[in-house]
């Protein structure tokens, strides 16, 4: 871990630190936010007032507090959605790459089908079927995201399958499952780490897009995407209502993208400079 830290460039270290700070903000939201994010004060609609660092929004809620609390849901949804997509994607990718043959053919056709759907529309359709809620958003993003992971992991598994240590393990009588979990999976881990970091960026963008269209978690809970959406009607003359949460999303996504780039260059030098 320490060796990895030392191999990061300055920008990589900064983005990792910034992400850690954001996690702390999410954890300590009640201590940082000066107000309850859902507390409305109609006298302060769209007003600037002492004690409200960024002023108030259209419902007289403290904009800064909402941003702070928004960190929670944004990161939580991103992590869980990404984790779920990764679990399914890695499982299917390993199975397809390791066994090959008709299993590979079938699984990859399923992957093709999922990749063919426009991701946002598919997520929208899923959230319609399941109804609004945090779990729905997580599931919708995971369903959209697992296929890409499966395809990449399958490629890696396919390469590793032919390696000598895999043949050796097989000669020793190791079961398929054992070879997959103890020989192939660990060798895919660097790649999986990279996919995870990059995927966090996409997941957060998807959540924001769904919330922006009013199809995310219900609007009483602050997420950055829904804040941009609600602020849209007050763009003139209060662009800040949409701008600040929008910038927060951009910032987190940049941080995850930079981290992903950095990890890829370090962990997976073969792909240096390529997109994962």
């Amino acid at each position: 871990m320490r060796a990895l830290w030392q191999r990061f460039t300055l920008i990589g270290r900064l983005s990792l630190l910034a992400l850690l700070v954001l996690f702390l903000v999410a954890l300590l939201a009640p201590m940082i936010a000066p107000h309850d994010p859902t507390e409305t004060n109609l006298h302060l609609r769209l007003a600037q007032s002492p004690g409200y660092p960024l002023g108030c929004d259209q419902d007289g809620q403290c904009l800064f507090s909402r941003l702070v609390y928004g960190t929670r849901l944004t990161l939580l949804i991103g992590f869980l959605a990404r984790g779920l997509a990764l679990l399914v994607g890695v499982g299917i990718g390993l199975a397809a790459g390791f066994w090959g043959g008709w299993i590979d053919w079938l699984l990859m056709r399923v992957v093709d089908v999922f990749l063919a759907f426009p991701s946002l529309l598919l997520a929208i359709a899923i959230s319609m079927v399941l109804g609004q809620g945090v779990a729905t958003v997580i599931l919708a993003i995971a369903v959209v995201g697992w296929a890409e992971t499966a395809r990449i992991v399958r490629g890696a598994a396919l390469e590793i399958r032919g390696a000598e240590f895999v043949m050796a393990a097989r000669a020793l009588g190791a079961s398929d499952l054992r070879i997959m979990l103890t020989h192939i999976l660990p060798n895919c881990l660097p790649l999986i780490t990279v996919i995870f970091a990059m995927g966090m960026a996409t997941a957060i963008l998807s959540e924001a897009s769904l919330s922006f269209l009013g199809l995310g978690v219900d609007l009483s809970q602050p997420t950055w995407g829904s804040m941009v959406s609600l602020g849209r009607d007050y763009l003139i003359p209060h662009p800040r209502l949409s701008l600040y949460p929008g910038l927060c999303i951009g910032l987190v996504v940049i941080l995850f993208n930079v981290l992903g780039d950095e990890l890829r260059d370090l962990l997976d030098p073969g792909r240096k400079g390529q997109m994962t």
Binding site: L121, A201, A208, S209, V228, L243, N257
Partner: protein
């Protein structure tokens, strides 16, 4: 080439079937009884039953799927629940807007992406390279609705160079420019990254050294040798972008009030007009498969090695 084309065409059949199945299942899973919804709140039990029978809802699932398949193959995507128009007619009506938007966005993305990426690769490790890289990371990270809202605020609201809504535009170009720019910035940034890394890889190839040693002009090397060989990953990205633009950019069309496919889908979603949503999703997925097919055929045509590899791989398995 013919054998490859036929094989590739047949290869899309299972994927298309899968797409149809999922589009069908999503509608099937939606809570609530569609016959009841269609009949209205005050309909009698008898009416609901009759409508259910008319819609074939009393049949088993696999039969309904086969029937759905048959309808779709005849180009019938069902009727809108809101205005009783065939979904296909509406899609074909909205598609031209989305198509024009997609093409304009693609031009913006390809021009900026290729230029920025090539410059970045040529000026590797200079301050310009760093700047372009930073801008492109920012470009792919900023959510599309933020870019859209900022462009709308600055150029339409403050400077009044463009209309705030497509309905108020004097010409088609004026209506399309800001939304196309919004889409183009994002995919251009992505393309710049791909172009940069591919170009750097290509610059290290032997044939570039040979071309240099032959004394070819740098411009000719860049144009004829480097760019041409970097084309495959670039074309892949461009094709992906095109199909995502064509599926109707829900967010951009909503922000700029463009009457295209994306906005159509969004309206259908807010009115819970399920056949329309299903139709648009299906249409987009089929467009995606079609574009992918074309790109693959293009590769095989441009690069015989790709085609031979695939035919060989199929022969072995």
């Amino acid at each position: 080439m013919l054998e490859y084309t036929i094989r590739r065409l047949f290869g899309t059949v299972p994927v298309l079937l899968g797409i149809l199945f999922i589009a069908f299942v999503v509608l099937y899973l939606i809570p609530g009884d569609p016959a009841k919804t269609l009949a209205g709140p005050r309909a009698s039990e008898e009416t609901i039953q009759r409508i259910a029978k008319d819609m074939g809802l009393d049949q088993p699932l696999h039969e309904r799927f086969l029937r759905y398949l048959g309808r779709v193959l005849r180009g019938d995507l069902g009727m809108s629940m809101v205005n009783d128009r065939p979904v296909m007619t509406s899609i074909l009506e909205k598609f031209p807007y989305t198509l024009r938007l997609a093409l304009l966005a693609l031009v913006i993305s390809v021009v900026t992406g290729l230029l920025a990426g090539t410059l970045s690769a040529l000026l590797q490790r200079t301050i310009w390279d760093r700047l372009i890289t930073m801008l492109s990371v920012a470009g792919i990270s900023v959510p599309i609705f933020l870019t859209g809202l900022i462009l709308l605020y600055v150029f339409a609201v403050q400077l009044r160079w463009f209309p705030t809504s497509a309905f108020g535009a004097k010409t088609m170009f004026m209506a399309l420019f800001l939304p196309a720019l919004t889409l183009g910035i994002r995919s251009g940034a992505f393309l710049a990254r791909i172009t940069r890394s591919t170009m750097i890889e290509v610059f290290n190839e032997d044939y570039i050294r040979t071309a240099r040693a032959k004394g070819l002009s740098p411009f000719r090397i860049l144009w004829r040798h480097a760019l041409f060989n970097a084309l495959i990953p670039i074309v892949t990205v461009v094709a992906l972008d095109l199909s995502s633009f064509l599926s109707g950019s829900v967010i951009v069309e909503t922000i700029f009030e463009l009457p295209g496919l994306g906005r159509f889908a969004m309206e259908a979603i807010s009115k819970r007009d399920y056949p329309v949503i299903q139709g648009v999703v299906l249409f987009s997925a089929v467009v995606f498969v079609g574009i992918n097919l074309l790109v693959d055929l293009l590769y095989a045509y441009l690069n015989p090695r790709v085609r031979d590899e695939m035919l060989q791989a199929r022969g072995n398995s």
